[in-house]
């Protein structure tokens, strides 16, 4: 059985790289399910998927960021290449959640094209350069999508 956390049972346990990747995979499946009907929530889930991938990247380096601000410092200090993509995803997810009166301006097509195809893909190039995670996530996306829609 795969361990989802290091130091299980201790108060300071942190998720492993595998646990982050698994969470990201589930987020991506949820994104695919929801993005066309609820683009604002699609953008939000996509950001949290990116966050898990970034944490998986840092977990590989035996590092763990406990807060958004700590993560931001880590990215800006050690992984600057992904900052524009990560920040764009974070910005849109914040606006999706907090802009009042449904003012979030991105339709589903733009979420897919700008956020997924451009920014999420750019981030993936850094944290998953071989495309291994995406390959493993895509079949799961289909399976989970079929399960939910059945």
């Amino acid at each position: 059985m795969r361990s989802a956390t290091k130091n299980r049972g201790s108060r300071s346990s942190v998720p492993t790289e595998a646990a982050h990747l698994d969470t990201a995979r589930r987020h991506l499946a949820a994104y695919e399910l929801i993005v066309d009907s609820h683009p604002a929530w699609g953008a939000t889930i996509l950001f949290y998927c990116a966050l898990q991938l970034v944490e998986a990247y840092f977990a590989r380096l035996a590092r763990h960021n406990r807060s958004h601000s700590e993560r931001e410092r880590s990215i800006k200090s050690d992984c600057q290449g992904i900052w524009p993509a990560y920040h764009r995803l974070e910005n849109e997810s914040l606006k999706a959640r907090y802009l009042e009166g449904g003012a979030f301006a991105m339709p589903a097509k733009s979420v897919r094209r700008e956020l997924f195809d451009r920014h999420f893909s750019a981030l993936l190039m850094h944290v998953d350069p071989q495309g291994n995670w995406l390959q493993s996530a895509r079949p799961a996306m289909s399976a989970e999508g079929a399960e939910v829609t059945a």
Binding site: H87, N91, A103
Partner: protein, 152 residues
């Protein structure tokens, strides 16, 4: 062992890093009893705090200057605001348009990184498209934010 004393004249009080006691009674009579070493440490702490405050203030001023100049140099920025949040400062940039293609966002991130590399301060940068500009109230109080740039 050197001894602290209260001079009757304007003679300076001399303290050394020892454990000899010092008693200070400010106007509110909230008496402090410390060792001379602790008084010296407190002085050092205060000097550090004042220097840090000055540096942070200078860094924030320099950042505001940079944001204003950056916005002036572009033709796609409508306005910029700075506002305090719980644990950092928000810099909000309102675009003149919908920032199709994200060029303004990319330029804003570049500026953000440049400023972070210089001062290591964390600002939260938010880009609002023209149609989202009214939503600024969701991220900062009208009373506490300051407009630092507005295009002519």
């Amino acid at each position: 062992m050197p001894k602290a004393h209260r001079p009757a004249s304007s003679e300076p009080i001399h303290l050394s890093p020892t454990t000899s006691p010092v008693v200070m009674t400010p106007e509110d009579c909230d008496r402090f009893v410390m060792t001379q070493r602790e008084v010296i440490e407190a002085c050092n702490g205060q000097l550090t705090r004042v220097a840090t405050e000055r540096k942070v203030r200078d860094d924030i001023n320099a950042t505001v200057t940079d944001v204003i100049q950056w916005a002036r140099d572009r033709n796609d920025v409508h306005s910029c605001f700075i506002a305090p949040r719980m644990d950092d400062l928000l810099i909000a940039v309102v675009a003149k348009d919908e920032d199709e293609g994200g060029a303004l966002h990319d330029a804003m991130c570049e500026l953000d990184l440049r400023i972070f590399q210089r001062n290591r301060l964390r600002f939260y940068w938010l880009l609002l498209r023209r149609t989202e500009a009214e939503g600024l109230d969701a991220f900062s109080d009208k009373e506490s934010r300051v407009q630092i740039f507005r295009a002519d």
